[in-house]
Subunit: 142 residues, 2 copies
């Protein structure tokens, strides 16, 4: 079952430095866990991330161009590794499409992707480094 | 200044009934304010909305195809009508692009759109029917 939370909203960007600078000028402060490959902004229990468009598409296993994806993914973090494949299977049973079966990303944990009926990609992620509070909100480690 | 909140995530869909059914099967319950034109899901202080792809693109004033938009918009609700144009102007000063100046949508209030440097559209909305709590989270009227 999906919880009533979107844990991460990740925007694909062409130039991480330029895009980070834009959001800083808008008033947001990068989280200390940001690094040269990804910028995180804590959004009060949700994370807004900036990530290279090509890397984002490769991780979600979707083409960069010509899909309904448009360089943005939503994610829901789950509380156990077993929940990843379970939710992916539920998505397929519900009329979604499997994009990537549960598998280990280079940064640890476990994740997979499904697409909803319009092709919007959702990542389902288990990441032991991410805290999920009682309301389902997520917080990066400080 | 942007707050650390994404108020709405709106997915463009081809068939509202089909997409609503998908998210219901996934475990989410539509909010009572949903109607035949839009489906709302309360996401714990954020709203996930499903809206016809064509209507979403028209409202954001972007082409449906061929852009980096891909049928999804993010929104930040603000506390006063004056804040709408103020944030749009800040976005342009910060290196973003104006998509739609502050103007009244058919459903009331005031809204405009800017694009970030990669073309991701953000709506800036003032809607007196939406409650914004002290943490910046938004709640639809019940």
């Amino acid at each position: 079952m999906m919880r009533n939370n979107i844990s991460f909203v990740t925007l694909g960007v062409d130039d991480l430095e330029r895009s980070t600078s834009f959001y800083k000028t808008m008033g947001l402060s990068p989280h200390v866990r940001s690094n040269p490959h990804i910028t995180f902004f804590d959004m009060h229990g949700q994370v807004l991330a900036l990530f290279a468009q090509s890397a984002l598409a490769a991780d979600a296993n979707v083409p960069i161009e010509g899909s309904n994806v448009g360089g943005i993914t939503l994610a829901q973090n789950v509380r156990s590794a077993d929940d990843v494949q379970r939710m992916l299977d539920l998505a397929v049973q519900s009329g979604g499409t499997m994009l990537r079966e549960a598998s280990e990303p280079p940064w640890g944990g476990l994740r997979g992707y499904f697409a909803d009926p319009d092709g919007h990609p959702w990542e389902v992620a288990w990441n032991p480094g991410i805290t999920i509070d009682d309301d389902g909100r997520v917080y990066l480690p400080s």
